[in-house]
């Protein structure tokens, strides 16, 4: 990239790096409906970036654009200083972007362990024949992946449910397993779609702690959608505010809190549209 990128230092003293993901003038339409209207923002390395906004503002669609599931009609996605060509979602995952889903998307027919192991798929290089014989490279890879996964399991404190079928778990634990699956992929950028939706206060505290720890220990960049304003203001370094598919605010939590458009959107001042 031509322009020089510089990071900044957060309030709590963390060094934030260069721009990792840059979304430029993204517009996404479904038929005649514009879900996202000409939105640009960036996510910097090491940052916790929040996307907030009322229901139907286009936040989840934004994440889907980032993970390649929706292809925007206009605009560009730049990742690590390169313009991203049209890609399939699984290729995005291989570039190091992992995510969780608003409505938990675990593989219900598999155990917790197997679910998290699917996060390691991008690190499996052995071919079908090797796996069929289950010797040599295939077995070594399997064991190494298992070790990595066990580390994630320890980190998220879900050792006890390792072999439980996912379908039997309560909601809060499912959310945690989903996070584990995303972490097992050792992503550079982690997208969290409402990681705390439907949780009680204690569960929210746990989840907040995990998010901060992930960012702190592994240096993972995180973009999250969340409705709980308290959580957002506490966790995030910078916040994007969306409303009706448009960006109405962008900045540190304090800046956003004092932004008149944002206050209007949340307090329900009449729109001109």
């Amino acid at each position: 990239m031509s322009e020089v990128q510089t990071g900044y230092v957060t309030e709590d003293g963390r060094q934030i790096g260069d721009v990792m993901l840059d979304l430029r003038a993204i517009t996404l339409r479904f038929g005649g409906v514009e879900a996202i209207k000409n939105i640009s923002f960036d996510i910097r390395e090491g940052e916790i970036r929040a996307i907030i906004g009322p229901n139907g503002a286009g936040k989840s669609s934004m994440l889907n654009v980032i993970s390649g599931f929706y292809v925007p009609q206009e605009g560009e996605v730049w990742f690590h200083g390169k313009k991203r060509p049209p890609v399939k979602p699984f290729q995005v995952a291989r570039q190091g972007i992992a995510r969780t889903f608003q409505n938990i998307a675990l593989f219900e027919g598999m155990s917790v362990l197997d679910n998290i192991m699917t996060g390691r798929l991008n690190y499996t290089k052995s071919g079908m024949l090797a796996q069929a014989i289950w010797k040599g490279k295939a077995e070594r890879e399997e064991t190494e992946n298992r070790e990595r996964v066990e580390r994630v399991i320890d980190f998220l404190e879900i050792q006890a449910i390792r072999k439980t079928p996912v379908g039997r778990l309560p909601y809060g634990l499912k959310k945690r397993v989903e996070l584990a699956r995303a972490l097992a992929a050792e992503p550079k950028l982690l997208l969290l779609d409402e990681p705390m939706a439907g949780m009680n206060v204690e569960e929210k505290e746990d989840m907040s702690r995990f998010i901060l720890d992930v960012n702190d220990e592994f240096g993972t960049t995180i973009a999250l959608i969340e409705h709980d304003m308290g959580v957002v203001m506490d966790l995030s370094d910078r916040v994007v505010v969306m409303d009706y598919g448009k960006k109405i605010g962008d900045g540190t939590p304090d800046e956003v809190r004092n932004n008149q458009d944002v206050i209007d959107a949340y307090l329900g001042v009449a729109h001109d549209e």
Binding site: S67, G68, F69, K88, P89, F90, V92, A93, R94, A98, R99, F101, A105, L106, F107, E108, G109, M110, D114, M117, T118, G119, R120, L121, N122, T124, S126, M128, Q131, A132, I133, W134, A138, E139, E141, E142, T143, N145, R146, E147, E150, R181, A182, A185
Partner: protein
């Protein structure tokens, strides 16, 4: 405490992901193998082999194959009969074109050819899902049967339109043709069953199996976390068809000896194998065996009761069999969608706690 896993500690991840993590299961598995290979060949007679063992073993391979596609990857196929026909005809063409090559290699190659055909017919699965795909696989079923019926090259221009297996030997013993001893055909099928089951087990417990199951459980999420749906689905079609092809080849060469395609590999064969995995258990290798055993013995059993014991006419028993099979399918889908395999797991859970269930 007949069945226990307590005290069976694992000290490595290899040990934890082995085929039978519980020691008791492991011993039983070796015991079954030993009996099957070392004891049964000396005990069996023609009737037992032809009425029970051969169909059981051969259908088990087909059921494992279909289970990989349907049970593990979630792609319902109604084309199993057609793919078995590919295996049978590939085997026949190979046997007659290269008479000096070992029949076992022909059977494997027939599986390989079927895998290619299966992958070809699997291509639409990338765009078509659910029962749309199930109906699309009917295209494979009907087209393939028609092809083998109409193109004389496939049956070497024989007047009857049938194919019949020439005599072939393994270690000097006939394994195909009319002079085959019962134990020899049994052993050939057993070798293939063991081979297929091991491969299937290895694939399903590893990375590829997880990709398949991820596609089955939630294909969109699977793709977003990095599963290439093209690769996952096509490998499932390939591996599945490989097994189905082997079973078709054995069904023709070792079991029947001569087949007419519409009769041996019609749409009813597709349903039969599908029923086996529903009754046995979707997504379970053991289930494939259980389902095959069940649906192979059921007609024999019904005939024994109906015809031999009660003296009913055979067609009446055949109709009754339809009713029973239909009822069983509905029963299992309502009560136990995971089939006999799940009943077995529940029984093991109970045994583990017995005699102190609380």
């Amino acid at each position: 405490m007949l069945y226990r896993e307590a005290g069976d500690y694992k000290t490595s991840y290899e040990a934890d992901s082995q085929t039978f993590p519980i020691a008791f299961d492991r011993y039983r598995y070796w015991f079954v193998l030993a009996v099957a290979f070392l004891v049964l060949p000396f005990l069996v007679n023609d009737y037992v082999v032809n009425a029970l063992l051969l169909p059981f073993l051969i259908y088990s391979i087909a059921a494992i194959g279909l289970n990989i596609l349907t049970g593990y990857t979630g792609q319902v196929s109604l084309g199993t009969g057609g793919f078995m026909a590919v295996g049978a005809y590939a085997c026949y063409k190979l046997m007659t074109a290269f008479p000096d090559v070992n029949i076992l290699i022909h059977v494997l190659l027939a599986g390989g050819i079927t895998a290619i055909v299966g992958t070809l017919f699997g291509l639409p699965s990338l765009r078509i899902k659910g029962f749309y795909l199930a109906v699309a696989t009917l295209a494979a079923q009907f087209f393939l049967v028609w092809l083998f019926n109409k193109v004389a090259w496939f049956y070497n221009y024989s007047a009857s339109g049938q194919i019949s297996a020439p005599e072939r030997f393994v270690f000097g013993v006939a394994v195909t043709g009319p002079n085959t001893p019962a134990w020899a055909s049994y052993l050939v099928c057993l070798v293939f069953v063991t081979f297929c089951a091991l491969i299937a087990r290895n694939l399903t417990r590893g990375a590829l199996g997880r990709q398949w199951m991820a596609i089955r459980d939630m294909d969109i999420a699977a793709e977003i976390i990095g599963v290439n749906p093209l690769k996952a689905k096509l490998t499932a079609f390939a591996v599945s068809s490989f097994f189905v092809g082997i079973s078709g080849a054995l069904f023709f060469a070792v079991y029947l000896g001569a087949v007419e395609v519409g009769e041996a590999f019609g749409i009813n064969k597709s349903f039969l194998v599908l029923f086996m995995i529903i009754i046995g258990g979707l997504g379970s290798i053991f289930g494939a065996f259980a389902g095959a055993a069940f649906l192979v013995t059921l007609p024999v059993f019904l005939k024994l009761i109906g015809v031999d014991l009660l003296g009913w006419p055979t067609d009446l028993v055949a109709h009754l069999q339809l009713v029973v099979v239909g009822l069983l399918i509905m029963f299992f889908l309502v009560k136990e969608p995971h089939g006999l395999a799940q009943l077995w797991r529940v029984a093991k859970e109970k045994l583990r706690l017995w005699p102190f269930p609380h």
